[in-house]
């Protein structure tokens, strides 16, 4: 289990991570989400002992990373941005870390095979594509067959086939009871992979729950407006629908959990004149965007039904 406890990091005047707490349970894939600059990489670097927290702590199975004797056997971690010597071959890259992880050259070759790089084993990393680098980074994390995987933006640069392969790999690992934490700045990229989500923005936690709970926040509602407000109220009350005054200043209402067709039919039956009838669909991604404060004017998808 990964546990992040009141973690804070300031770089000069930048508060990259701000009193962040969350836990990551084993047996599931957890998505660590947030927009660019949210503090994901900084949090992971603190978890991995590369960056010293300003305050707070982050532990893996109750231990700080630095206190784990042979960390490569317990935690497989890959951080964003290629960290390869361009003159080294893929196999040599793994062989460099093999002694500390305590594995043989044979294991290095097997892992290259597993990530689909066996053809490129003897090629220099300098000539690798972004996707190949991601695969090699992943190979490095898998070397010690770790119980905990920490991956920063592992899907960056992977082709659709690669993304599917990564998804299956992560699900397989979680299925074996391992702990898997993957960061991403787009929810849709990991939506089909993760069971839990931890969402941060501006260094702070904005949401942590199973993905299903986040999905439940994705609602739909209808905007409806009439010159005869009381008649419209009566028509809506007649159906027992929950509604509230419209937020965007139009003289009208937001009706929850119904379709535009239903509202239109109710108004028609009651003989109420309508000036606006709009279906508002809030997708999961929109929930993510509004949670992380990225929801701009057009983020909520609007379907005009009638006017």
């Amino acid at each position: 289990m990964i546990s992040v406890d009141h973690l804070t990091k300031t770089f000069g005047t930048v508060r990259a991570v701000d009193d962040l707490s969350f836990t990551v349970r084993p047996g599931v894939v957890t998505g660590f989400l947030g927009p660019n600059g949210a503090g994901k990489t900084t949090t992971l670097r603190m978890l991995l002992g590369l960056v010293a927290p300003t305050s707070g702590s982050a532990t893996i199975d109750g231990r700080a990373y630095a206190d784990i004797a042979q960390p490569g056997r317990v935690v497989g971690a890959a951080l964003e941005a290629a960290s390869f010597h361009p003159g080294r071959t893929a196999l040599d890259h793994l062989r460099v870390f093999a002694p500390q992880v305590g594995v043989t050259d044979q294991r290095c070759r097997e892992i290259l095979d597993m990530v689909g790089l066996s053809e490129a084993a003897k090629r220099r990393v300098g000539g690798f594509s972004l996707g190949m680098r991601q695969r090699l980074a992943l190979a490095t994390t898998l070397l010690g067959d770790p119980q905990v995987l920490v991956l920063d933006e592992p899907a960056n640069g992977l082709d659709p086939g690669g993304i599917r392969w990564l998804r299956e790999l992560l699900r397989y690992f979680a299925g074996q009871g391992r702990t898997v934490l993957v960061s991403s700045h787009v929810l849709s990229e990991v939506q089909q992979t993760v069971d839990d989500v931890v969402i941060i923005a501006g260094g702070r936690l904005v949401h942590a729950s199973p993905l299903a709970d986040l999905a439940a926040m994705a609602t739909r509602h209808v905007e409806v407006a009439s010159p005869d407000e009381s008649a419209l109220r009566a028509a809506l009350d007649g159906r027992g629908w929950a509604y509230a005054p419209s937020r965007d200043g139009v003289r009208g209402f937001e009706v929850e959990g119904v379709t535009a067709a239903e509202v239109g039919a109710a108004a028609f039956a009651a003989g109420v004149e309508l000036h606006a009838l709009t279906q508002q669909v809030v997708e999961l991604e929109d929930v993510f965007l509004s949670l992380t404060g990225q929801a701009a004017g057009g983020a909520v998808e609007t379907t005009e039904v009638a006017a």
């Binding site: 002992g49 960056v51 080294r88 460099v96 500390q100």
Partner: protein
């Protein structure tokens, strides 16, 4: 530590840059040895004023320890590049993930560089011996390859060149920017130290300071100095010289350990 050392040695053997440095050093040392062997054995008659004739073991030592006198920039660069590459390519991130103990990382880097430095020492010294000895025995007083007065300094020149690689890691730990480290190494070895050494030895009050410069200290360890044999400077004793020389590497590495290597790796 053993695992860290194996890892570091694999880092060396899986990259090519130091091989290039090693080859260039071999060629350069052979060339200098030929030039030097001719210049120290030239008859006063056929040379103009200023030619210095060296005799016997002095001539042999000057030629055979050229690696340390003029070729130390190669292992020094190799050591500095080994450390700064980690920062340049951010391989320090996976390195510290594999073993978060930063002192172990630095220690293994220093040790492995010393091992590779021995290769520079052997290659550099052997090529100056191989190129210089035939000329010395043909034109001078002989090659003196059987004399312990010559062989001990020659062996110590191998050791000194290895320590230069160690010092290089120290430089790279303190100056983690690769370009800056290379510029500093080149400027210091090619201009600053030679000029300062000559400058200091010209001023009586400061003459004692020059022998504490790293190049002078390494020559003290070897027990032979191109500068000294040309009457241009004084040296420390062999043991104090060796200690001063080692201290350069250790002090640089220690300062680096508590500054650059203590910082966040982002």
């Amino acid at each position: 530590m053993k695992a860290a050392l194996t890892s570091e040695l694999r880092k060396w053997t899986s990259t090519r840059l130091w091989w290039v440095l090693l080859l260039v050093m071999a060629a350069y040392m052979a060339f200098l040895a030929v030039v030097m062997a001719f210049s120290v054995t030239i008859e006063p008659g056929d040379a103009g004023a200023g030619a210095t004739i060296l005799h016997g073991t002095d001539a042999a030592l000057t030629v055979y320890t050229l690696g340390n006198a003029l070729g130390y920039v190669f292992p020094l660069l190799a050591g500095a590049i080994a450390m700064t590459s980690e920062f340049r390519y951010q391989t320090i991130t996976p390195a510290l993930l594999a073993d978060p103990r930063r002192s172990v990382f630095l220690g293994a880097k220093l040790l492995s560089a010393t091992v590779i430095g021995l290769a520079f020492g052997l290659v550099g010294t052997l090529s100056s011996v191989a190129a210089g000895a035939p000329i010395l025995s043909w034109r001078g007083d002989g090659a003196y390859l059987g004399s312990s007065d010559v062989l001990v300094p020659v062996a110590l020149s191998v050791v000194a060149l290895a320590i230069w690689a160690f010092v290089g890691v120290g430089v790279g730990t303190l100056i983690t920017n690769q370009v800056a480290a290379i510029v500093v190494v080149l400027a210091f070895t090619q201009f600053v130290e030679p000029i300062v050494r000559l400058g200091l030895s010209a001023v009586d009050a400061l003459e004692g300071v020059a022998k504490f410069l790293p190049g002078a200290a390494s020559e003290a360890l070897v027990g032979a100095s191109t500068y000294a044999s040309l009457g241009m400077s004084d040296l420390l004793g062999r043991v104090p010289g060796a200690l001063v020389f080692l201290a350069y590497g250790l002090v640089l590495a220690l300062i680096g350990r508590f500054t650059t290597l203590r910082r966040d790796i982002t």
